[in-house]
């Protein structure tokens, strides 16, 4: 996000106000990093050490035991989450790009109303569709399965994907389309040969957003796919069943968070762009 990354203003001397700013920034950073500290310190302890020491004491005999146990418990769910998140992300990005293209470049009468009605779907509490959804998936035999969950995430991902692509394609100059029209390109041809190739950044933003949201989602997962646990459900179960085994809980938390954390570290600015797109005005 270009507006977020501004060049630092060079400051030669350290003014008192600068020191105050740094002190406040460090205090805030401590607050935000506190859970990370808890995760790292605790996950490296043995069960005996966790029950004997407090959260703040560093591990005396660091061990990866907890990661082994957490991985053993969470691995199937981790794999399920991968199976879920890859197709769901690709499909919703594809639908979003089609919608965004049409709703920004080929506005027909009523297009704005349709856009508004699509957008509303992004804000609803999913509890308000959960009962019919549960009935519907049971009827078509997809209840409790990963394909059912994929369908759900593709459908309810349409609004945000459409929004991000519509904003993205809105920045493409009209002249580009008109030139292609002169050369006899069709609506689909323009999409395929002009818009798709230049929309890689749009795809990156949408896919990172969908990947993060779907990986972290819990309500759909616990309601309609309890039998095929995904990572959030499995972590919740682990935390609920191994109540005193905080070292395994923390190791499990790190495993569950690792993929999205990695994406954030590597591609943070695209993540922020998706985040701000969700607030419409940004």
């Amino acid at each position: 996000m270009s507006v977020l990354v501004a060049a630092p203003r060079p400051r030669a001397h350290l003014r008192p106000s600068t020191i105050v700013v740094y002190v406040l920034l460090v205090l805030l950073a401590i607050f935000y990093l506190l859970p990370m500290f808890a995760i790292v310190v605790t996950s490296l302890k043995s069960f005996a050490e966790v029950s004997r020491s407090t959260l703040w004491e560093l591990p005396k005999a660091p061990t990866l035991e907890a990661f082994g146990s957490a991985f053993e418990t969470l691995a199937p769910a981790f794999f399920n989450s991968v199976l879920l998140v890859v197709p769901a992300t690709l499909l919703s990005a594809l639908l979003g790009s089609l919608n965004g293209y049409v709703l920004s470049k080929w506005k027909f009468r009523g297009a704005n109303v349709i856009f508004a009605l699509l957008l509303f779907g992004m804000f609803i509490p999913y509890q308000s569709i959960l009962i019919p959804l549960f009935q519907f998936l049971s009827t078509i035999g997809l209840y409790g399965s990963i394909p059912g969950l994929i369908l759900v995430h593709v459908v309810y991902g349409i609004p945000i994907c459409t929004l991000i692509f519509r904003n993205y394609f809105a920045t493409v100059p009209r002249e580009l389309l008109e030139a292609a029209r002169m050369d006899g390109a069709s609506v689909l041809g323009i999409f395929r040969y002009i818009m798709l190739p230049i929309s890689i950044p749009g795809f990156v933003v949408v896919m990172i957003w969908q990947f993060t949201s779907i990986w972290n989602e819990f309500l759909f997962a616990i309601t309609i796919a309890q039998q095929q646990q995904v990572i959030t459900v499995a972590l919740q179960n682990l935390a609920g069943s191994l109540l005193a085994q905080y070292q395994i809980q923390m190791a499990g938390s790190l495993l569950a968070a690792a993929p999205t954390l990695l994406v954030y570290i590597l591609l943070g600015r695209y993540f922020v762009r998706g985040l701000l797109a969700g607030s419409l005005k940004g």
Binding site: A29, F31, L95, F123, S128, I222, Q236, S253
Partner: protein
């Protein structure tokens, strides 16, 4: 009549699948939920006997749902206040553009990449009365800050709020930061030339310009807090007592654990109405502004 043209039809065919899916999965399903809320369905077998508003009347009479409403209001107020204060504060600090700002910015925002389940699991450990924050406060001679955290009805909801603010305040910060960076330097320069102090230029130039962003942040975070579910599920499951119960969790338990489908549908409908009250005017405001541009 205009002649047939593929260029007119293709765009409609391209968005048709999405429009049909949303029509069914959002609007059709909402309608069905609303209808279900007016029936007598309890137990695993659907029963569509029409009972009018009986489920709503009974629902509002339950102590649990009354607690839900109070908790939601309480949580939303403190959650918003926390996110706005931390978000604006952090954004103003980062906007000083000191060396290393980008590192701090990344640190303040990484919780957004985590799930509420991870956040809840970790904060439950930090809030553990015997091992966590209480020990730290004791060692720092700040014993007055000790608390029962999630274990006491009086402190559980506020503890939950702390974890939620930790996770979401970075969103507020990102919005404010984008807003601050969007204000032309000349405007603040002009205020300085006119003899305004740093505070005055912030109070009379910057802050009014941040108003639309603040409104956006309040509405987006407000609707998130009305829907809060995962965090409550993993941290307290609504307890102790009803002290942290929320409509979203109540709906889930009522419907999928107690099989009271009609009542669950009623809770869902009330929740939807609360969110719609916030979101619909916001959508209209946004899309109107767009056509004016």
């Amino acid at each position: 009549m205009t002649p047939f043209s593929w260029d007119r039809i293709t765009p409609i065919l391209m968005i048709a699948p999405s429009v049909v899916l949303i029509a069914i999965f959002v609007y059709g399903f909402i309608g069905r939920t609303a209808y279900t809320s007016l029936t007598a369905w309890r137990g695993v077998v659907p029963d569509y006997t029409f009972v009018g508003l009986r489920n709503y009347i009974r629902l509002f009479q339950t102590e649990k749902f009354q607690a839900d409403i109070v908790n939601t209001v309480h949580f939303t107020a403190f959650f918003l206040a926390g996110c706005l204060i931390l978000g604006l504060g952090a954004a103003v600090l980062l906007d000083q553009k000191l060396r290393g700002s980008i590192v701090f910015q990344n640190v303040f925002m990484f919780p957004l990449a985590l799930s509420f389940i991870v956040t809840g699991t970790v904060w439950r450990w930090i809030f553990n009365p015997g091992y966590g924050l209480n020990v730290l406060f004791h060692n720092l001679h700040l014993d007055f800050l000790q608390s029962g955290w999630l274990t006491k009805p009086s402190s559980a909801l506020n503890s939950l709020t702390i974890a939620a603010v930790w996770q979401m305040s970075g969103f507020c910060m990102a919005m404010f930061l984008a807003g601050l960076r969007g204000i032309p330097e000349e405007l603040r320069e002009a205020a300085r030339v006119d003899g305004a102090t740093e505070w005055q230029s912030f109070r009379y130039v910057v802050f009014p310009l941040l108003r639309p962003i603040t409104l956006s942040a309040v509405i987006i975070l407000g609707h998130i807090s009305l829907k809060i579910f995962d965090l409550v599920f993993v941290m307290t499951f609504g307890g102790p007592g009803y002290s942290t119960d929320m409509p979203s969790l109540n709906m889930f338990i009522t419907t999928f654990r107690q099989d009271l489908f009609a009542r669950g549908a009623a809770i869902a409908t009330v929740l939807l109405l609360m969110v719609a009250l916030l979101i619909v005017p916001y959508l209209i405001w946004n899309l109107r502004g767009e056509t004016e541009r």
